[in-house]
């Protein structure tokens, strides 16, 4: 038993960071994830696209177990997702997540938002945590807003703070669940630029988005989902210029021609 797990871990640490195997999930009668197999390599940027209700957000949320699954396995860095409890909390700290609605802690300043996890989960020294937080806020371009409250910031600024908050934990992989869908058009780019910079720096990223431009320029791989299944996956060039499945052709024809 032990030998087997050791062997597995050795194999996994090589390249595969996130591995989903025959994952199924239902919301009542709706079979929202159907036999999902997906492997994401270290340093890879995977963009998940698809029509509304195709299960892409749910897929993203299962990876740090904000949604539970009915069957199948999910492993991160060779370790299967633990059940609720301390183990799971530890794992979540290694998986950064950025939400559509930012979800900054409204009663804390921007700086405290970025420090909280470092101090309470990583048990970092307050001074070091503050230094790191300020550096990250500078990096995403909102250093000047550090002492304000989230409600005083624009949507784009809030989302960049949320990215800094996730980065502060030093995550192995970052999940983005439609990070620009709640933003005014003129603020989308400032968030996408931060994400592109992250991708260039080699962060492993899983991005659920409707931003085809981002998929083209930053993704290593595009995963197309429809009706709870992964219908097609390929390089962005191939996917956008020459999609194989009818479902993808149909989807692209609806979004790319106007």
């Amino acid at each position: 038993m032990t030998k087997v797990t050791v062997a597995k871990e050795d194999a996994a640490t090589s390249d595969e960071l996130v591995v989903l195997k025959s994952v199924n999930k239902h919301f009542g009668a709706l079979h929202v994830l159907q036999d999902i197999d997906l492997t994401i390599a270290r340093g890879e940027v995977v963009v998940v696209i698809g029509p509304s209700g195709s299960g892409k957000s749910t897929l993203c949320r299962t990876i740090n177990r904000l949604e539970t699954i009915d069957s199948g396995t999910i492993a991160i860095d060779g370790k299967p997702l633990p059940h609720e409890g301390r183990e799971l909390a530890r794992l979540r700290a290694d998986v950064g997540m950025v939400f559509q609605s930012f979800n900054l802690f409204a009663h804390k300043t921007v700086l405290d938002n970025v420090m909280l996890g470092q101090v309470k989960v990583r048990k970092a020294d307050k001074k070091q945590a503050e230094e790191k937080a300020r550096a990250l806020l500078d990096r995403v371009g909102v250093g000047a807003q550090a002492d304000k409250y989230p409600a005083q910031l624009s949507g784009g600024q809030q989302q960049r703070v949320a990215i800094a908050r996730a980065l502060a934990m030093g995550p192995k992989v970052m999940l983005f669940d439609e990070p620009t869908s709640a933003l005014d058009p003129e603020m989308i780019n400032e968030v996408l630029e931060v994400m592109q910079q992250l991708a260039r720096e080699g962060m492993t990223m899983i991005v659920v988005t409707h931003e085809m431009g981002f998929a083209r320029s930053a993704a290593n791989r595009v995963v197309f989902m429809a009706d709870g299944r992964i219908v097609e996956q390929s390089s962005p060039d191939q996917f956008f210029s020459n999609p194989r499945s009818d479902r993808a052709k149909d989807f692209l024809s609806k979004i790319l021609h106007h």
Binding site: A89, R92, M97, N103, L104, H107, V121
Partner: protein
């Protein structure tokens, strides 16, 4: 006109009312918060307990609870809360009864406050690796309390007036004094007015100050 008051310790009686109020308020704030935590927690057994507690306790008249504390706990089961002096023991039993009763309302006020905190914030807190207690203590409850100041003020004012039920088991607070004065004196209207005025002196400032506090600490969204 106010001469008869010299025979009575009006301030002393109201001081007992204040003590009953403050001790029960602290007790029910702590126990009510724990109940609210149980009701939103992940453990089904605790959720069930919290729900059952609130629904049973808030539907029993306070008089019944206070009388049970004196007749049931003390006289039948012999639980006198560490004092053989009847007055002290009855005072403590009243605080216990008021706490048991008021905490059901505190729980619901705090739970309403918890519902004002967007679910996404709790998810984000879990996503950075905070445990359930940390999510509750660091992110959800601090915002829930701020939103609950208004409802909690109502509960505190109701509690202040509910302390008069302690008169039923002979605790020497304002209502018991009123009963005594009414039996011995002729100025019934004046006596009622004095006691009513005394309660207003306690509850009006409570409402005003906490109303101001509630606005001051409100979370901007």
């Amino acid at each position: 006109m106010f001469d008869f008051l010299d025979k009575y310790d009006v301030l002393g009686a109201f001081w007992t009312t204040v003590q009953l109020t403050l001790l029960s308020a602290v007790g029910s704030l702590i126990w009510g918060t724990l109940l609210a935590a149980m009701r939103v927690g992940p453990v089904p057994l605790m959720r069930g307990f919290g729900t059952a507690y609130v629904n049973i306790v808030r539907n029993i008249p306070l008089t019944v609870i206070i009388l049970f504390a004196a007749l049931g706990l003390k006289d039948t089961l012999g639980i006198s809360l560490g004092s053989d002096v009847v007055d002290t023991s009855n005072f403590r039993l009243s605080v216990l009864g008021l706490t048991v009763y008021t905490s059901a309302f505190v729980c619901e006020a705090i739970r309403a406050g918890i519902n004002t905190v967007p679910v996404g914030q709790a998810e984000a807190a879990r996503a950075i690796g905070l445990s359930f207690t940390q999510v509750l203590g660091l992110v959800v409850l601090p915002q829930a309390f701020r939103a609950a100041v208004g409802p909690l003020t109502n509960v505190l004012i109701a509690l202040t007036k509910n302390t008069t039920v302690a008169a039923a088991i002979g605790v020497a607070e304002a209502a018991l004094l009123m009963k005594e004065m009414v039996e011995n004196e002729a100025q019934l209207l004046l006596i009622s007015a004095i006691i009513a005025f005394g309660f207003c002196c306690l509850t009006l400032p409570t409402g005003l100050i906490l109303g101001w506090v509630g606005k001051k600490v409100a979370v901007k969204r």
